[in-house]
């Protein structure tokens, strides 16, 4: 495990993330980690008290975490959303578009190439939880 990359300005959340099961058992935990097959919607009643949600990618081709992230952001979650596991350079931009703002990759990621990946596309075709305006909005104001 290498240092997490954070795209947020707030302080790093110190409390370690617990599993979904133990989170649901505890009245005051503020950080949780969900596995690829777990239902992010179970967290919806607790979003106000959560500061960190970590979503695991067991292999980069398992795309369930993208939907989990979108669901959390669509429901108003504003805390840190961290992608962990098999998180690779070429998926970061899509992760960010789905609302991830921190990455804890298994192997280090070149910071410069990451910045390049984020700024590569000037425009996007879809509305997602990153709030970038899609091309159709530019066309029609």
């Amino acid at each position: 495990m290498v240092d997490a990359i954070r795209l947020r300005d707030d302080d790093v959340h110190e409390e370690p993330a617990v599993s979904l099961d133990s989170f649901l058992d505890q009245a005051n935990a503020t950080a949780v980690r969900i596995e690829a097959g777990e239902d992010a919607r179970q967290l919806l009643p607790f979003l106000d008290r959560l500061s960190l949600i970590e979503i695991d990618f067991p292999v980069f081709g398992d795309g369930r975490g993208y939907s989990a992230a979108q669901i959390l952001r669509e429901s108003g979650y504003t805390g840190e959303l961290r992608a962990s596991g098999d998180v690779l350079l070429d998926q970061l931009a899509y992760m960010r578009r789905c609302g991830f703002d921190a990455f804890a990759p298994d192997s280090p990621i070149n910071f410069e190439l990451m910045q390049q990946a984020f700024s590569r596309y000037d425009h996007v075709y879809q509305a997602t939880s990153d709030q970038r305006g899609p091309i159709w909005r530019l066309r029609h104001g």
């Binding site: 993208y66 939907s67 979108q70 669509e74 070429d90 899509y94 789905c98 879809q126």
Partner: protein, 544 residues
Amino acid sequence: MYQYDQYDQKMVDTRVEEFRDQVKRRLAGDLTEDQFKPLRLMNGLYLQLHAYMLRVAVPYGTMSGKQMRMLGHIARKYDRDYGHFTTRQNIQYNWIKLEDAPDILADLASVEMHAIQTSGNCIRNISSDQFAGATADEIADPRPWAELLRQWSSFHPEFSYLPRKFKFAVIASDTDRAAMRLHDIGIQLVLNEAGELGAKFFVGGGMGRTPMIAPEIRNFVPADELISYAEACLRVYNRYGRRDNKYKARIKILVHELGKDEYTRQVEEEFAHMNQLGLNPPVEELARITQYFQDPPFDKQASDDLNLSDPDFALWVDQNIAKHKQPGYAIATISLKPRGGIPGDASSAQIDLMADLAEQYSFDELRVTHSQNIVLPHVRKSDLYALWQTLDEAGLAPANLDLITDSIACPGLDYCSLANARSIPLAQKISERFADLGRQRELGELKLKISGCINACGHHHAGHIGILGVDRKGTENYQLLLGGSGAEDASLAKITGPGFTEDGVIDAIETVTDLYLEQREDGERFIDTYRRVGMARFKEAIYG
């Protein structure tokens, strides 16, 4: 035809740069093949038996002459001078070098084309009716809807690592020329009681080893909710589709295992949420796109008269010409199934010629069909004879549309690492055996489809007659299937019994077609007779 604006152009140009970087990192060893694979797949690049294969998207099968000519250029410059038109209205090149791929993508981008998401576990090129905008039997042109979906699905961040590939087809006619219900999502445009256009959704069709016909899950989705409804369908799949077994990962398995009603319930619940998120482009966007699909400037005085005194021309007209919505015009299908040829292949010279003919005779438009032919959608009837003469000289005028030699065949063992058996040589032999056009016409409409293995790239499940290559103790063996259809009367073909050798399966085809000729009643096609008479009778004829 749709034309890119500055935004669309920028997107594909950026993709070319991005892929150039990725190839550079791969060649430098900074990316492992495992890491590179999903990236190249999202740009249409497969590694095959002998070389890389590149699949280029032809959105909803529509192209201009200039775009077609670029396809010929690529065949000439980067491949072995030919290309292969596919069952999903795309084109594939079989002999591509990795180093050349970025340049090819750049060439494509210069004519508003790309290979984005033509493979990989993402939303693939959207297919449609090859007669769209030309046929009288549609309620609207489906292509603006397909273009709206193309843009929405391109670079979709949430749905690029799905459990498996995902294919859409959009049609707007009760006659299904696109095998709509054999897609992951099939959409038929319909009118509601208020006369508004909307989308009927069919979800969970597909071929492969577990073929399924998609059930209808919603009879009307309004235009301004199309995207959020599609998002809901995909999100349920992305979250719950199986990832433990590649062969059970398609959405058809999810819909089947949950049951259509439960899947629909989950989609509707997700939709109720997603429809509030502002995901839908305004109706002005669909209107903007629709502007590009206006009718070409038809000559309203064009005559319906046709001189059929040349008997070969008359045959071609009878077989390959379809009725156009505009009097005085016709829809012409160019068959890429010459006697003994490879179904769907065209040389660069033929591609160039078809591009010229589109410019000269068809308002600069061509279509690729799901049965691997090319259509000139808007030809004046008075030009047909000249068109036919030119095609005939170039070997592009087989008068066999929808006949037994108009077969579909997958690449099979000649190219494909998954194959059990060869498909192309079998298609060629069948084409020779049934070469007599009189005999073919006597047999009438007969959809013959060949796959070299259970993955069903050759649509054998949807063939009136299907052939499936299997491996029997290390030798190639072919099973015969009967009774499938990919059209509006969709059905799945059934295996007749034990398999055959290559010659044996051709003999068996003759046996079943002979039985059909003997048993048919007035006006019945092969498939109709089969459905009436039943499998048992056919089995008996084949196996005695």
